[in-house]
Symmetry: C2
Subunit: 122 residues, 2 copies
DNA sequence: AAATAAATAATAACAATTACTATTATTATT
DNA sequence: AATAATAATAGTAATTGTTATTATTTATTT
């Protein structure tokens, strides 16, 4: 994969936020620096960055979001404001349980907690 | 919500399978019994059934699937064949951990294991 | 500096889902 | 049982998120 300034800027934007942005959000942010950037370019580069392991694509309901944090972690999503908060909840008891009870080879454990964040629970 | 035969048939179809079908799959199945059923009707009724708690909408990548099993459980998804297998992995240690460490009110814990099912791991 | 091929912008195509609207069917009322 | 009220439907159009296409541009190799 060869250098492209578009990809660099897209990566910088993903790495600049904890907000787990969507492709569209990243596109609008990047467009300020690259006025004739194309949304397709954003999608293509996000996919490439995900495939090479630089960022991680996550899925929120039915839209894709992108996370600079590629280390194993989980998410808590507030149903009021939509915010996605990073947490670490998994331990290896889950993988152990699967290994013990099922013939299933685990690649990844995705866990999302749905609820109300501290700003919105009364 | 008043009676509709379309909704009855849609519910029956969801309840007839463990395959976590998509709206489109349900639509094609239901169409054999209701030849001029509309896909919008399927979506509307699936949403209603989900809202009243009769079935549960789950999200698989970027498409919605529907599950008759509304009891708390998790899913293992095979990346080879796409099959989604019901499992029970959660215990209340996760909710306990959140209660202890974060000011976040939990409604639901969604967990999906990505990997290879027994039919496809060599 | 020229050649090669990967990446781009612009646009079209696509898939999943939701919205709109005139008509039909269910339930409540007479 | 007939009528009225209105929820649900079929058919269709619109919307949203994403991927594909293609002529042009740009990074890298020769």
């Amino acid at each position: 994969m060869r250098f492209s300034s578009q990809r660099e800027i897209i990566r910088e934007i993903v790495e600049s936020t904890n907000a787990h942005p969507t492709a569209d959000w990243i596109y609008n942010k990047a467009k300020k620096r690259l006025p004739n950037l194309s949304l397709g370019t954003v999608y293509r580069n996000l996919k490439q960055l995900d495939e090479e392991g630089t960022i991680k694509a996550i899925t929120d309901g039915n839209v894709s979001r992108y996370d600079w944090n590629t280390a194993s972690h989980d998410h808590m999503k507030c149903k009021v404001c939509g915010e996605i908060i990073d947490v670490h909840l998994q331990d290896d008891s889950i993988r152990k349980k699967i290994r013990k009870n099922y013939k299933f080879e685990v690649d990844d454990v995705k866990m999302t907690i749905i609820g109300t964040c501290k700003k919105h629970k009364k």
